[in-house]
Assembly symmetry: C2
């Protein structure tokens, strides 16, 4: 099962290494991780997505996270109602597809062309993972030269 974990942490060096070390020490691969400062520059928010069959070990990791001195709070959003989003940038070759056709292709998922040169276009998409997968599959035939993504961030709904 996929878990989306949101942690508030002190914005200090070593915190990221310690946290990612907790997961790797138990053989957990992190699907995605995003970390950036919050409204308080002393504090960062980290969103970690892990896929696990072993819920028991994940519970242990969450407890250990909570005990780390630089960790302020840990929430497993999987147990709440939340909105998740991920940002992706695609570099699409304009050899096989024209800009107007590309614009049509990305319309349903509300993607945006943010830059074009004579040879390629940069497409931006912020969406849930299903829409990202859908667009990637559509763009594959046209030719995705490069892709970079943020990993999921998420926010609870009260």
């Amino acid at each position: 099962m996929k878990h989306t974990i949101s942690a508030l942490v002190e914005n200090k060096f070593g915190v990221l290494a310690r946290i990612s070390g907790l997961f790797s020490a138990r053989g957990f691969n992190i699907d995605s991780l995003a970390v950036g400062v919050t409204e308080d520059p002393q504090v960062s928010r980290m969103t970690i997505v892990v896929n696990t069959k072993d819920e028991r070990i994940l519970e242990q990791i969450k407890k250990q996270l909570n005990k780390l001195i630089d960790v302020i709070t840990v929430i497993d959003l999987t147990k709440r109602e939340f909105i998740g989003r991920e940002l992706v940038l695609f570099k699409v070759s304009l050899d096989k597809i024209k800009k107007t056709n590309l614009a049509k292709l990305i319309k349903r998922v509300e993607g945006k062309i943010i830059k074009t040169t004579s040879k390629e276009a940069i497409v931006e998409l912020s969406a849930e993972q299903d829409d990202i997968k859908e667009l990637f599959n559509k763009l594959k035939d046209a030719g995705v030269k490069e892709l970079t993504r943020t990993g999921r961030i998420a926010i609870s709904i009260n």
Copy 2:
């Protein structure tokens, strides 16, 4: 100076811990880090933003990154032309601001209201950091209850 480093790495456990450890061992704080799988599920792309006055040490870290067995390529985008974007989700209280006014506020930077309840709205913004800062400052007075962000991702323009 801010550096945006983009690395392709093997999607294995321990890679993130090793890479973040390289930075923290030298007292480098990471401004933001985003990691997620690429079009090839065996490979992840990591985007790291660091702010440093000591370019010499950063050069050493980049060399060490390149030597890590699980690191495929390392590019310092700062030396190229690139597009950077970051995704932010804001939870805004609707006590002091009405939804229609909120919609006006986020229009210039092309933010989107993606969910509303009677008490709050979730605003999504994918943009460069200056626009994110601008919107945050506008929303602050209305009341930002929570904020989560991905950190910058970036793609080179050829």
